[in-house]
Each structure stands twice: as C-alpha cells, then as structure tokens.
C-alpha cells in the first residue's frame, strides 16, 4: 500500500504538466523531448520518460530553469523505477540549479523514504512545505513517512477515580 502511494506521489514540475495543455507556455517550447518525457513519466511509462528526457537534455541546450525541471522529472522517474540512488543524484543536480522548486525537495524526500532515510526525508519535506505549505502531495508523503517511521504504543494504567 505504501509503495503504491509512493508511486502516486511522483511529482513533475508544473511547467511540464502545463506544457501540453497550454501551448502558450514558453518553458519547454522547442524541446519536444522534454515535454514528451514529462508526459510519459506522468503516465507511468518511466523508461520512456527517462529516455526522452535524457535525449532532450543531451541534444538540446535547455535553459537552466528548464534543465532543473527536467532533472527533477528524472528524479521522479527513477523513484518510479525504484532506483532511489539515481533519483537522489538528479534531484541534487536539479537543486544545484534551482533551490526554489518544492517538487524537487518532495521528490528527493520520496527517494530518501524509499531508502529508509526518514530524517533526511522529513528535512526535505519541511523545505518543500516552506515553499508550498498547501501542497497535498507533501502532506501525503509526510503521512507515509509517519506511518513508516513512527513506533506506536499504548500504555495502560489502572487507578482509582
């Protein structure tokens, strides 16, 4: 159940999500590979998403902001194929270019969660929440981390009234 939830939390930068619906967007224009890669990842076709996004990064020269978004997508995709170490590399690379994308922090938190590194995950979630306090994906991932990382117990004690 938790794994399913983690898959459902793969986060793509909103720019790529909008790219198809809104042709006026500038980000990603002229780099159809990045757009197609983003859509493939959103559809759960992680292998194709990774291939297309990498090609978009290799064959074109996206702006630093687009590059950061593409790297964030790759981070999400490698979480999807259960390769959290690679996901971490891409998230770190993305954050080196753009520290203001809450989705990158959230994706890295998901990678840490898969690795069982819950304190790091919580730290990144806090960063994501600072940038976007209302993000439902962040709240959901925090619930998953709580479920995985909290040890619950009930102490009972009898006494007189």
């Amino acid at each position: 159940m938790v794994r399913l939830l983690l898959f459902s939390l793969l986060l793509l930068p909103m720019e790529w999500a909008w790219a198809q619906a809104d042709n006026r967007t500038i980000i990603g224009s002229g780099n159809e590979y990045l757009v197609a890669g983003a859509n493939a990842i959103r559809a759960g076709d992680f292998d194709n998403g990774i291939r297309l996004t990498r090609r978009g990064l290799d064959e074109f020269l996206p702006s630093p902001k687009d590059r950061a978004a593409a790297l964030c997508n790759l981070c999400a995709a490698f979480n999807g194929v259960r390769e959290p170490q690679k996901a971490l590399e891409y998230c770190n690379e993305s954050l080196a270019l753009n520290t203001r994308n809450w989705r990158t922090y959230s994706n890295r938190a998901a990678a840490y969660t898969i690795l069982g590194m819950y304190s790091e995950a919580v730290f990144d979630l806090d960063s994501a929440a600072t940038l976007n306090p209302d993000a439902k994906a962040v709240l959901k991932l925090r619930e998953i981390i709580n479920e995985l990382s909290l040890d619950a117990r009930v102490i009972m004690e009898d006494h007189q009234q």
Binding site: E143, N146, E147, S149, L150, R153, M156, H159, Q160
Partner: protein
C-alpha cells in the same frame, strides 16, 4: 524525636484549631486544619507500581499510629506520630516508610518515602474496630479498595490515521467492575482527540478483571484506566 501528641493537641485546642474528634465524622475544622485523630481508610500509591495498597489507619490520642490490614487483625501500632508545622508524620516500622501529611487539606493525604516513594490518601471512618470497619466498607466505602487484578488487559490498536498525522493522546475511562470481573458502565472522563474513542472503548470492553471471592453480596467496584497513545521516532 519523641512525639508529644498530647502537648500538640493541647496547643492546637488552645488555639481553637482542632475540630471535633474523628469519631464524630468531622475531621476538618472550621478554619481548615485537619484533626488527624481517628480512623482512616487509606490508599497507598507507589511510583512505578500499578497496584495500590489498601490500609486501615488509626491515629490515636495516645500518640500512636496503628494499622489493621487484615480482616481479623487487631490494631497494630507501627510508630508514634507527631505534628510539626501543621504536618503529621509517622513511620511504618514494618516497611520503613515515612509518611507525612499536611493538615491544611480536606482529608488526610500526603507523601511517603522509604523503599520507593509515593503518595497516600485517606478518607475518614467513624468506627474503630477493624472487623467492623471492614464490614462497613463492603457498602459505602467499597470504592476505596483497589480494583481486582486485571485478568485480561486488551491493548487498543493505535488508529492508523492518528499515526499518519503523528497524533498522540490520552484517554481516561472510568467504569464499574462487577463480581465476575466484567466491566460495566464505562464513561470517558478525558479524551484528547475523538479518534482515540472507539479503539479505547473496544479494548476496554474486551478486557476482564479477576473474579472476586464468593461468599457474600458484592457491589460493583469503581475504577479507572488511563490509555496513553504514544509515538516515538524509530530513526536517528
């Protein structure tokens, strides 16, 4: 130090601080200083120990603290008592526990120290014979006795939604236990979050106490159980 109860009592009486004797069932004087002389039904709590101890205590005008902890027992002197700074103190020589109780409260209660430490609390009784006391306790004072021992303590499940939200809490439920050990009439007296209500009541009503010894009619005994829902991080 050798207690001088008569002198203390004389001083208190001269100051008008003593109420009527305990056998008149009026242990608290008009200005709020407790007269400890009399018979008391006491509960002794020890930190870290779940079961309370029941004890019949008598503070005599002759200067002795006496106990009767068995149905057929005679009053057994455990030490002399003394009052200093409106604090009653005596020692149970059997257990080496030193009891102290401030006399400004509404009843005889305080702290004890010795092999462990804890609190004690007493309610006044009007009788002085241990056997008679026990007989009278079967009715109106039954509630001051410890609960029967739990025969089955069912732990509630921690609500998953509470874990996800990192929610801790406390629930206190009071109830009655019938002679067969069944829990009756539970009522929640403290509830930190409604999410803990159902699992608590579900666990409580599946719990059992040991049956009481048969032999005579036994009214239900009141008791309470506190449930503390706690979470701890397993990382770092």
């Amino acid at each position: 130090m050798t207690p001088r109860p008569a002198l203390h009592l004389c001083i208190l009486a001269a100051l008008g601080l003593l109420g009527p004797p305990a056998h008149a069932q009026r242990p608290v004087s008009q200005i709020g200083v407790l007269d400890p002389i009399g018979t008391w039904n006491c509960l002794i709590y020890q930190e870290g120990v779940q079961d309370d101890e029941a004890l019949l205590l008598r503070i005599t005008e002759a200067g002795f603290a006496e106990v009767a902890d068995d149905l057929q027992a005679e009053w057994l002197p455990i030490s002399r008592w003394r009052i200093r700074d409106e604090t009653l103190s005596f020692t149970d020589e059997r257990t080496r526990r030193r009891f102290r109780a401030g006399l400004r409260g509404t009843t005889l209660a305080g702290l004890w120290r010795g092999d462990g430490n804890g609190e004690w609390w007493c309610s006044p009784l009007a009788v002085t014979d241990a056997t008679t006391v026990r007989a009278s306790l079967s009715d109106e004072y039954e509630g001051y006795f410890p609960l029967p021992k739990p025969a089955l303590m069912v732990a509630p499940r921690y609500p998953l939604q509470a874990i996800r939200k990192a929610l801790e809490g406390v629930v206190v439920v009071c109830f009655k236990v019938d002679a067969f050990g069944h829990i009756r009439e539970p009522r929640i007296v403290e509830l930190s979050d409604p999410i803990f209500r159902d699992p608590t009541l579900d666990a409580l009503l599946r719990s059992r106490y040991a049956e009481w010894p048969a032999g005579r009619e036994r009214p239900p005994r009141p008791g309470c159980r506190t449930y503390r829902y706690e979470l701890t991080q397993v990382f770092d």
